[in-house]
Structure formats: structure tokens, C-alpha cells
């Protein structure tokens, strides 16, 4: 078994509701993996099962090749950084960081050295004597991280650990934390509902929905080749057309939509109800060159200038907004203009239309 953390067929029910449904996840040694999904998708439950804070109904969990399914949390050597940080309010910063070391039969001096080293990793070495109540949110977050790192855990788990920070600090911490964990060679699993955080921090992202992992891929791959409509919509913006598959065409399908026929990557039988999706930044204004392009017409509804890029909402007769994003500030259309939109067929994906099928 190569994976450092592996879950096999892991299921958890609360009453009648399945919160986790036969989840297989393999995290390689030294990898930073994010469980990404909306609230209620089971991501936190999966993390708590790995930590041993909950017991699964079915399936098994292995850490470092050993089955730990029935091992209590205090014997798993797993570090957890909680959303609320869960710092011990009656102890100082050093008392918190040293908590895990004191149970290991180390000498007082040795503990002090390790505490200082862990605090230095998060740039909090001068705060050891402070009570934790006196710290800001960002500082508490660092202390919680130092406390988890101090015991040199086999795996680090982060439960929405950055979500309580304000936006600027969160973005700084994302980059800093990734660099620190990479330097330490740590294996880590993050839980978040924030797609930017997932893409920034992880080597691989597991997109979760309704207790299952929909896709487990590298961030770039996940964004460029989403495997489900859910993953497409959850990671980035999806510009969509609905229609019926006309024919298969060598790894692609031709889909008849009210806006015209479009080509998309994917495989669905002829006659199937389909959703064709692409990313807003793949779409150009104008017909473009080449045969492998999808072209539709629409009327501009709104133009939102955002500095480096401009978002344009176009009414293509598909109900909602068809989002287009272009760089540069030249040749911006105005609301009411009729424009031709085009994008590469290789950058459009077809999915079964669950709404139609149901």
C-alpha cells in the first residue's frame, strides 16, 4: 500500500441519512489534499473519521499502512487544527504548544526546546508566556498550528482552519501554510468550502457532493477537465447551454441546442438530454478562426469591468446569464449590443442533464 492515508469503502450514517457513502480516498505521503464541497457534503465527517473523533459504520481507514479503524484518536498520532482553534483557555501559548509533548515522557528542557522550535515555525517565538485569550485570531490560528506540529504527527488535518480569518490574512496564510507544510514534507488533509483556498493550497482536490467524492484531481486538471456538472459549477464559473445529443463524433458529441449545434468533449448516447458547459474565459467575442469552434449569438445584458478582466453577461436565449470573461479593455461591447460568441470545442464539456432525466 503506497498511500499514507487511505480510506476504503468508508460509510457513516446519522439516523437514516447517509453522510458518507462508500468513500475511497488515497492521500500520498507528503501530499496536501483538500476535501472541497458545500456544507453537508460529508467533508468534515470524513476528516473526523480520519482523526478518530468518530467511528465509521462501514469501511476502514489506514494511516502509514496500518489499519487504524478501531484505534482511539489519542493513539493515532494525527494533528488536528480546528476551525475554532480549540486552544486551551487556561494555559499560556507555550502551555498549549507543549500539551502534547508533556504526555510523552520528555524532560522539561527538551519540551521547552521543541515548543520554541514549533513556535518559531509559525513566527510566534516571542509569545510563549502570553495567555491565549490575549491573542488575535491570526495569532491563535498560528498557535493552533504550532500545537499540532509540535507532536510531529504522521498526518495533519485542517477543519476549515482558515475560514475564521479575514480575507487578506487568509490569503497570506494560504500561501505561507502551503510553503511551511511543503518544507516539512508533511502529509495534510484540508477541509474547506472555499474553492480558491482549495486551488491555492492543494496538490490534489477531492470535490465532494452528497457523501461521495465526485472527482479527485490536481487543481489544474479539476478546473480544465471537470468530470461532473457539480464539479464544473463548484470550481469556477460554468457557462451552460441545454439541448439534446444529435450524434457521437469521435470522442465528442454534437448537441442540438436552441442556440444552434455545438460540439463538446464527452460521451453521451444520441437523444440524451445534455448540458454543454465551458469556462467564461474560454469564450471570445467574434467568430474566431478554425472549424472546431462553437459559435452562438446573444445580446449583452451587463458589462462589469473588474480591472484586469471584464465580465459580460449575455442573454443567449438560454434563460439565465451566459457569462463571458475577457482580458484587456479594448473593444468592450455595450449593453444591448448583439454579439457573436465563439469558443473551442476542445474546451467544452457535455454532461447528462439530470434535470431532464429526472
Amino acid at each position: 500500500m503506497n498511500a499514507h492515508v487511505a480510506t476504503t469503502n468508508l460509510s457513516k450514517r446519522f439516523g437514516a441519512a447517509a453522510v458518507l457513502d462508500r468513500v475511497d480516498l488515497a492521500v500520498e505521503r507528503g501530499a496536501l489534499v483538500t476535501l472541497l464541497g458545500p456544507s453537508g457534503c460529508g467533508k468534515t465527517t470524513l476528516l473526523r473519521l480520519i482523526a478518530g473523533l468518530m467511528a465509521p459504520d462501514e469501511g476502514s481507514i489506514a494511516i502509514g499502512g496500518f489499519d487504524v479503524t478501531r484505534t482511539p484518536p489519542h493513539k493515532r498520532n494525527v494533528g488536528v487544527v480546528f476551525q475554532s482553534y480549540a486552544l486551551f483557555p487556561h494555559l499560556t501559548v507555550a502551555g498549549n504548544v507543549g500539551f502534547g509533548l508533556q504526555g510523552k515522557g520528555l524532560g522539561r528542557a527538551e519540551i521547552a526546546v521543541k515548543v520554541q522550535r514549533a513556535l518559531a515555525l509559525v513566527q510566534m517565538e516571542h509569545f510563549g508566556d502570553r495567555p491565549v485569550r490575549a491573542l488575535s485570531g491570526g495569532q491563535q490560528q498560528r498557535v493552533a498550528l504550532a500545537r499540532a506540529l509540535a507532536v510531529e504527527p504522521s498526518v495533519l488535518l485542517f477543519d476549515e482552519a482558515l475560514s475564521a480569518l479575514d480575507r487578506n490574512l487568509r490569503e497570506t496564510m494560504q500561501v505561507e501554510l502551503r510553503r511551511l507544510l511543503k518544507d516539512l514534507g508533511a502529509t495534510a488533509v484540508f477541509v474547506t468550502h472555499d474553492q480558491d483556498e482549495a486551488l491555492t493550497m492543494s496538490d490534489k482536490v477531492a470535490v465532494m457532493n452528497a457523501g461521495r467524492i465526485e472527482q479527485f484531481d490536481e487543481p489544474v486538471r479539476l478546473y480544465e477537465r471537470p468530470r461532473s456538472l457539480f464539479a464544473t459549477r463548484f470550481v469556477g464559473v460554468s457557462s451552460e447551454l441545454r439541448g439534446t445529443v444529435a450524434a457521437r463524433d469521435g470522442g465528442r458529441v454534437r448537441v442540438d441546442t436552441p442556440q444552434g449545434q455545438v460540439l463538446a468533449e464527452g460521451d453521451l448516447p444520441a437523444g440524451a438530454a445534455a448540458v454543454v458547459s465551458t469556462r467564461p474565459e474560454n469564450i471570445a467575442i467574434g467568430a474566431g478562426d478554425g472549424p472546431d469552434r462553437n459559435r452562438i449569438e446573444g445580446r449583452v445584458r451587463r458589462v462589469t469591468f473588474q480591472g484586469s478582466r471584464t465580465r459580460i453577461a449575455v442573454d443567449v436565449g438560454a434563460g439565465g446569464d451566459f457569462m463571458v470573461e475577457i482580458g484587456g479593455i479594448f473593444a468592450l461591447p455595450a449593453p444591448g449590443d448583439v454579439v457573436m460568441l465563439s469558443w473551442a470545442a476542445s474546451r467544452s464539456f457535455v454532461f447528462a442533464d439530470a434535470r431532464q432525466a429526472a
Partner: protein, 291 residues
């Protein structure tokens, strides 16, 4: 027009500012008046009368209690009642407070009701109930005999068993409620964090939950000790004359002996005992919390 507006704008701000400064004083004033008139002044007069002897100022009343074997036994009986009640209530109430905190739904309502409802019954009623249970042909003795654990009724009433069990029963809610209210505030993530840091459940309890629950213990100990050390009805009904305490002496001094100096001195000693335990337990709580 614009001047009037400015004035108008300035007015409510002023009107708002002034009371804010003294809001704390104003809000506390009714309670302060009541306490001063009905408690502090009578207490001061009581204290003063404890220093009155046959020829003016005197410590004679204190000497009669503390300088005499019988007098010291009054102090000892009060302290014993208070200390035993507090210790047993703590031993029983501490786990019970966790039971209450962990209970959910109907069970929690049941637990809370069983704590609060007895508080609505008068302590006299409860003491009589205990004396009925404990008398020679009361429920407890009948039960023991029908189980053939004893052949004849055991003497329970007017023994220390009945005194302490009655006292613990009556004052137990004052131990459980403050401890419960503190541990209900403890973030359950803290014990999880301790577990992920390698702490066994016992170590997590001793190093995290116990220290964080101490403020509740301090409050519970202070309450139960000051209530039970000065209890009058409980020892009178469950022990009678054979267990004289400072509290029963106060009543005897004022009602029977017409000796206000003795009664006041007994009251002063009782108050000093209660204060000592309250202050000491708070010191202990602060010291433990600050470690």
C-alpha cells in the same frame, strides 16, 4: 434654521451622554438601598451588640463561646455539618453535573426538573419528610426489614446519618447547578483537541476539563458550605437538642435566653466561617486557573 438644527442635533447627544456616565450607579441604586437599609445597618447593629458586656465594651460573649469546651463544640458541630455536607455534595454533584450537561432532550428536562422542583418546596417540609422517612417505623426501616437486612428498626433519626443525608439532599442542587453552568460552557472541541494531541481520556479530563470546571466548583462549594454551616431547620428537625450548632445557639440565645450578646457573637463567628471558606475557595480557584 441651521442654528436650530445644530442645537437640536447637539441636544439628544448631551441627553444621551449624561445618564450613561452614571448608568451603573443608577441601576445598582435600588438594590444598594435595599441592602443598606435591610441588611448592612441591622448587621452592623448586631455586630455592635456582640461587643456589649455588663459594663460597656467587652469581648465576653466571644470568650463564652471560644473559651469554653461546650462553646467550641458549637463551632465544631457547625463546621462539621458544613464540611461533611459540602464534601459529599461535591462528590455526588460533580459527576451529576456532567450527567446533566451530556443529557439531551427529554432526559435533560427531567434532570433539570428534578433539580429545580425540590427548590420550590420549603426546607421545613423537606426536613419533615426526611424525619418521616428515617423514624423507627418509617419507609427506610420498613424497607430494610422487609429485605431481611435487619430484624429490628435501626435508629436513624436523630443520628448523624440522618443529619448529613438530609442536609446533602437539601443543599445538593446548589452544588450541581453552578458546576453544570460552567461545564456546559466548555467547548467540546477542547477534549477532542486534547485527544488528537495524544492525551488519554483520563489525562484530557485531568488537564483540560477539571481545571476549566474549577470556577463552578468554587461557586458550588461556597454556596453549599455557607448554606449548610448556618443551617438551622435541618439540624433542629433531624437531630434536635443532641447536636447544638452556632445556628441553633443563635435562636436559643435570642428566643429563650434573652442574651443578645451571645447570639450576636455566635452570628459573627458563623459569618466569619462562611466568609473564610468563600474567600479561600476563590483564592484556590484563581491560583489553579492561573497556572
Amino acid at each position: 434654521m441651521s442654528r436650530a438644527l445644530e442645537d437640536g442635533a447637539a441636544l439628544p447627544r448631551l441627553a444621551f451622554r449624561a445618564p450613561q456616565l452614571s448608568a451603573g450607579v443608577l441601576l445598582a441604586l435600588p438594590a444598594a438601598i435595599v441592602l443598606l437599609a435591610l441588611y448592612a445597618i441591622p448587621l452592623a447593629r448586631l455586630m455592635a451588640s456582640s461587643f456589649v458586656g455588663p459594663s460597656g465594651l467587652s469581648f465576653q460573649a466571644y470568650g463564652r463561646i471560644l473559651g469554653d469546651a461546650y462553646g467550641r463544640s458549637l463551632v465544631w458541630n457547625s463546621v462539621r455539618l458544613g464540611a461533611l455536607t459540602t464534601m459529599i455534595a461535591l462528590a455526588v454533584g460533580y459527576p451529576a453535573a456532567f450527567g446533566l450537561a451530556f443529557a439531551r432532550g427529554a432526559l435533560r428536562s427531567l434532570f433539570l426538573a428534578s433539580l429545580f422542583l425540590p427548590l420550590a418546596a420549603s426546607v421545613i417540609v423537606k426536613s419533615f419528610a426526611w424525619s418521616t422517612l428515617m423514624r423507627s417505623h418509617g419507609v427506610v426501616n420498613e424497607a430494610l426489614m422487609s429485605l431481611h437486612l435487619t430484624s429490628a428498626p435501626i435508629r436513624l433519626l436523630f443520628t448523624q446519618v440522618s443529619l448529613i443525608s438530609g442536609s446533602v439532599n437539601i443543599f445538593l442542587p446548589f452544588m450541581i447547578l453552578p458546576i453544570y453552568s460552567v461545564i456546559a460552557q466548555i467547548d467540546p472541541r477542547l477534549t477532542e483537541a486534547a485527544a488528537t494531541l495524544g492525551a488519554s481520556p483520563v489525562r484530557a479530563f485531568l488537564r483540560v476539563v477539571l481545571p476549566l470546571s474549577l470556577p463552578g466548583v468554587v461557586a458550588g462549594v461556597s454556596l453549599v458550605f455557607s448554606l449548610s454551616v448556618s443551617a438551622y431547620v435541618v439540624p433542629t428537625l433531624l437531630m434536635g437538642e443532641s447536636y447544638p450548632t452556632l445556628a441553633t445557639t443563635i435562636a436559643r440565645a435570642f428566643l429563650l435566653l434573652r442574651d443578645p450578646a451571645l447570639g450576636s457573637a455566635a452570628g459573627a463567628i458563623l459569618m466569619a466561617l462562611g466568609l473564610a471558606v468563600v474567600v479561600a475557595s476563590h483564592r484556590f480557584g484563581e491560583k489553579s486557573a492561573g497556572q
